[in-house]
Each structure stands twice: as structure tokens, then as C-alpha cells.
Symmetry: D2
Subunit: 224 residues, 4 copies
């Protein structure tokens, strides 16, 4: 899995703080923006998060290039509708060399990995044979496994990212999207440390688990 | 493939016409609703579509139960973000008996179907062996083919359906989602004939193809 | 203020429960729908709400005719983006007889109501004079007061309604939209008692206030 | 009216082109991004627009500070739901000095401006009196005119901006939002000339009017 933040709103912490401050101020957005210090920003963003006034977080956008996740995971990812996606097409791009994600559970049970990899290999062979016979790529892909790799460009704003992190970093989420979401959070924390200081599942954001069926292993404040 | 309209806004044609009429009228919505004849409705809905004033179409909603489409197609379907989806989970539901869609192109090339069905069979066996060994369902599914069947409940409003039909009934769309969209259009035409009288790709809705690369076989007015 | 539910998904409780059950079941949506008893429904919807799995609530849609709210309130209402609106146009509909909402606070302070009503009356006169002179309606309306009445048709699904009720029935919301939201909740409870049994601000839905600055007067379980 | 682009996705033309190219390529997003020349970009973005494949345009976001528009216009603006807004609150910010937009039509009819400005002045006085008496700001504003000024921060992506420009720069749109949309287009053209080269109403984007009732004065290619 490869996750890189390829573009984002410049100075995301300040853009959000300025937009939010506009709601309660007689000054113009530009005056507010120019007058904001880092300390003011931090304080103001904390108040917004505490009071659940998250709409100003929408003004900061983040674009990720994601490589080497399975289609199992991209299918979950694109269910987040407040986001923009451009995904590699299996109608137009040949999958002759397509690799597959190996779930970690395969290493824990004797014999599982052999069955899995043999099956994956045979799917690739069948795909290649079908394409060689003249079956269109868009039909040959019907035999490809869900675990096969895909590439996708994703843009989400900071509000939706908070929502995404709250659901998908949680230990109850599927393991691969947990890794993806954690890698995305690491990327955005580098450029917007204030916006995402409290981002994560409820064990992080609220300090206590709000899941109906807790995992019993809450994430510590320094783990993310 | 099985497509059934399981619920919808009652009297969808009239609800949309009444909402639209409200924008231009000094009367209340309820008065307008009660005063609308079928002729008025038809005339008014035509004007709306001709002038591109489609927002009132959002007030009519349609819920479909869809069975027996491939995950190739459900993946395209859920990319329509102005819609609501509940899809059968492969984390929680066992796929021991999961069948697969056979693309029609397999019948046109000697030898293709044997390769395809053998591969599908072997994927099912591998899945069952992995689950029997103790691999979680959510990991065993990584070997399942994209062509495997899924079930999904979908709700879209009439505006989004118009958009969906314009893209997905077009001959340039992938063949399986073409069938799905055509089946959905048949269902909604039964209960909202006025709302969907002109629905379809541009060869239907505009009377001429607007695709950058036309298919050369426009759909006739009586085909849908 | 006049609020009437003019259309909704039939059997909303069952549609949502069936869609949700599909995610975890090997049966088809139609089988599930037909097999659901009221008891099963109630139990299942409770689990969904407790676990925060609210997406199936999107399959039930509700359309309201709303008359006699101020533009102050319609402006807040249309900020809910997961909804569909058709509002009476001030470009096309004459406002010669437009009435105005009188805030209750006017009754508590001597002299306030006179100032208010005189001002409202003078705005109507100015509007009428401008229109009589030939100023287009769309320009004459610039003098009309924010408190002036409007009409709007609104469609929201049950998930968005839950969100709307949680924010807008809260005592910290503006008083007119509080009344509107409360009236809308009363309407939907008649046809979907299970879906909305726990709807409202956090004092109702969670049993305790989650506002940063509580009002100190939580709403009792039987008040809504 | 004051419109300033305060933040945007850096290199918006290239981000969109790279995301779009990913769909049809076996290379990674980062490789594609680094390999794109300005010529390639221009060519590729033209193909996208011609074929109506607009979803990659969503990856480029633009944040505007807007000052000095009327509430008439902000009400139209916030109806665009694929966008993010932070607007100055009339519940929390005092409107003692609030100015009002004067529609140009007032200059064309003798006597109109006097009626208008007198009315606006009297609204301000009534507001100030009510606030002085102790009426809450959120209630006193009910007498304020729709033409009164507001401030708003808006974020839209390039796809929604194309949609917004197509509707709102058109001569059939209300005049104030026409000016606003035109000013916004000027701002984004400075930083994303390729993305917006064809943006505007159908007279610009398609080279011919597609309105049901054309204005008769199509905008020339060099006017925007």
C-alpha cells in the first residue's frame, strides 16, 4: 500500500479558522485571515470541535494518490459519498500483471497461504487466456479476485476525513481499510496538525469508546 | 438479474408537479396538489424537462430490490453518490454457494466458457477450503471473483434516476449495468409514466446522440 | 405556520428494516420484506440506532408542505444539503399581500411590537409603490423584511431528518425553526413511529445533553 | 461586491489531468503527475470536457471570500448543495451599520430610488430601536431588508463551479448573482486557465444557447 498526499488547500488550519470566525465577526474574511496567529487558530479550532460546529472544516481539502489497495477496500472507500474519486478502470487497463493483497490471517493457519496464492495465480492465468482468446478486458475481469490491486485518487475535505477516520481507524473496521485510513491520517497531520489533532475513532476523539460492541483495545493518545 | 421496485413516493407525477408549481404560484402546496389534473400534470412536467428545471424531480423517490448482479456492476452502481444503498456484506454473510455472472461474450468464442467456469468453480472451492480451515469470511472473500453475485437495495430520486438512465442505458455503458438500468426504467415507468417519459440516453431524451464517440445504433423511441 | 406531510415512502419502518437486514442475510430483499413482523422491525431498528448504523434510514423519504414560515427560517432550512427543496419564488410571485412573522419576544417588551409592525407595514407599502412604478418584482423585494412569509416543499430521508431534529429541536436552536422541526417530527411520528421513536436533540436521543453550552432545560421523554 | 480567491488546490489543472489520466493508465498517480507537461494537460482536459467526463474536475477546490452581496443573492448561492459555506450570522453579529444593495433598475425610474433608500433607512432605524429596547438581535433582524449585505466564505470544486457558472452567468439569471458568478470566474481563470477555458452558460461552453427561452444576447467568446 502506498498513500501520498499529492495536493491540499494551502494553510488548511488557518483557512478553516478564518471561515469559522467569519460567522461570529463583523470583520471581513480577508481581515480575519490576515489577523489570525497560530495560537488563535489552535484555540478557535478546539472550540469548534468541542461544540461540534464542524461545517467550517469543509473548506480544507486533501487529495491523495493511493496505490496497491485491494478492490475489497476500494469498494468500501467509494461508499463515502462526500468525496471525489478517480479509479483505475478495468474496462480500459489490462490486468495481465495484477497482483493481489495477502490477508495477514493466512500466516496464522497452516496451509491457507498455499491455497490462496495458487487460486490467485490461476485467476491471473485464466484472465490472460481469456484476453488472448479475444474476450474483452471488461468481461475477462469477471474472473479476477476481489483481493486484486487497484489505484485511486481521492479528495476529501477535513470534515469528511474526520468522519472517515472515526469509522475506519476503529479496530472494528476491516483491517485493510484501517491501515489505509491510518496512513491517510498520518499524511494530513503533517500539513494540518491542528485540524486533525483529535481525529480518529471515539476512543481518540472523545476519550472513550462509543461503539455498541467495543473491541476492548482502545487506541492510546500517542498511537496515531 | 432480478429488479423489483419495492417502494416509492405515492403519486410521484403529481407530487413533483405540485412542488414545481409552488415556485411560481401564490397558492399553498396543498391547494396546488389537490387542484392538479392529469392533463395539467403532464403539461407541466414537460415544461420542466424542456427547460432543464429538474430540481422538483427530487421529491419523488424510488426504492429497488436488486438481486443477482455481479460485484462488477454493484461497484459501478454505488459510484452514484446521490443515492442510498444497503448491500449484502461479504464480511458477515457466507459466500459458500455464491454464483457468478457469465458475460455473453463467452458464447461467441470457442473455449472461453470452459476456462471461465472452471476458474469460477475453483474460486468457490478455494473460498470454502479457506473458511473450513478457519480463515475469516472477510479474508477468504479476497479470492472470490468480481463476477460473483450480490444483492443490494437502492433508493434514488427521479432527478438522479434521469441522470443514471442517461449514462447507463447508453450503448457505450458496460453491458450488465445497461441491463440493470433498463430494468429499473421499466419498473418506474409503470408508476410514474409522466416523470420518465423522456428518460434515457441523449438519443432518447434529446432525440440525438451527444456522446463524444457515438455507438452508431441510437435507441428508438419505442424501444424502452 | 402550517406543516403537512404530503407524501412519504409507504411502510417506512419496514422498508428501512428490510434494507438493513439484507446486509447481514443470505435471503433476498423481497423475502426479508415479506417475512418482517412489527416486533422484528422494532427490535431491529433499535439495534441499528444503538450501533449508529444509520445508512438504511435513508431508504425512507418524507415530503412536507410548509406554509407561513419566515425567510429567516427557510434560509436556515435550506442549509441542510441532504434534502430537496422547492420554494416560492420572489422573482415570479408578487409579494403585495405578504405577511410577516412576529417574534414572541415582542410581547415581552413594552413598545417593541409597535415599532416592529409599523416597520413591516411600511416595507409592504414601499414594495407596492416600487412595483407600481415599474420596478421588477425581483428588485422591489430587496426592501421586504426577512420576517416575511414563504412557502416551501421539502423532502428529507429519515437519516437526514434524525440529524435535522437533533440540531433544530434543541433549545439552543433559533425559536422558529425549533417550532418547525417539532411540527415535522410530530408528522413523521404518525406514519413511522419506530423510525423516529428516539429522534430529537441529545437530551432525547442519548438521554443526556451533549451540547458544549447546555440550555439547562432538557426535553423530557414525553414532551415530543 | 468584493470577491477574492483566498485558497485553492495548488496546480489545479495538473491535479485534475493526473487524476483523470489514472483511470486509463497502468502507471501510478504520482508517475502520471510528474510526467504531465502543460501541453499534455491542455489536450487531456479538452478531451474530458468534450466527452462530458467531468468527475476528475472535482479534485480541484477553490475557496472564495465574498463581501458585500445581498441576502437575496446569498440565499440563491447556498442552494448549490455541492459546496461548503460559512456565512456571517445575524443571530450573533449586530447589524446596526448594515448597508443595502441598490438594484440598478432604481436608476431607470424616476422616484424609485427615494422610496427605496428611505425604506432601507427606516428598517435600520427600527432594528436599532428594537435592539436598544432589549429585543434579541436574532429577532430584531426580522425587520431587516433582503437587500442587506452579508459576508460568506464559499468552497466549490471545479466541477460544481462549471455547473454554477453555466446557470448563474447566463443572462436569464438574477443580475446580482450574474455579477458574483462572473467575478468568481475571473478569479479562478487566473489560477486554472485550462480548467475553466470553456466555463460559462451554454452560449460559451457549447457555442449555442440551450435555454428554453433564450435571452437573445449570447455572450461572446472574449467577453468573460
Amino acid at each position: 500500500m502506498y498513500v501520498k498526499l499529492i495536493a491540499h488547500t494551502p494553510e488548511p488550519d488557518r483557512v478553516v479558522a478564518a471561515a469559522a470566525k467569519l460567522c461570529y465577526s463583523a470583520s471581513s474574511a480577508v481581515e480575519i485571515f490576515d489577523g489570525l496567529t497560530t495560537e488563535n487558530c489552535a484555540k478557535f479550532l478546539q472550540i469548534l470541535q468541542k461544540s461540534g460546529h464542524m461545517s467550517p472544516f469543509e473548506h480544507a481539502n486533501f487529495t491523495f494518490a493511493i496505490d496497491g489497495i485491494s478492490r475489497v477496500t476500494s469498494h468500501q472507500l467509494v461508499r463515502h459519498r462526500m468525496a471525489s474519486f478517480s479509479q483505475q478502470s478495468q474496462r480500459y487497463v489490462g490486468m495481465e500483471e495484477n497482483e493481489c493483497i495477502l490477508p495477514p490471517s493466512l500466516d496464522k493457519i497452516e496451509g491457507a497461504k498455499v491455497i490462496f496464492t495458487k487460486q490467485i495465480e490461476s485467476a491471473k492465468e485464466a484472465y490472460n487466456k481469456l484476453v488472448a482468446l479475444g474476450i474483452p478486458k471488461e468481461d475477462a475481469r469477471f474472473v479476477l479476485p476481489h483481493g486484486g490491486l487497484t489505484r485511486i485518487v481521492v479528495t476529501m475535505n477535513a470534515r469528511e476525513l474526520h468522519h472517515f477516520f472515526s469509522l475506519r481507524i476503529c479496530h472494528r473496521a476491516q483491517w485493510e481499510i484501517q491501515s489505509l485510513a491510518t496512513a491517510m491520517l498520518k499524511e494530513v497531520k503533517k500539513v494540518a496538525p491542528l485540524l486533525f489533532s483529535k481525529a480518529g475513532p471515539s476512543c481518540i476523539s472523545k476519550g472513550k469508546c462509543e461503539e455498541a460492541r467495543p473491541c476492548g483495545k482502545p487506541i492510546g493518545p500517542d498511537e496515531l
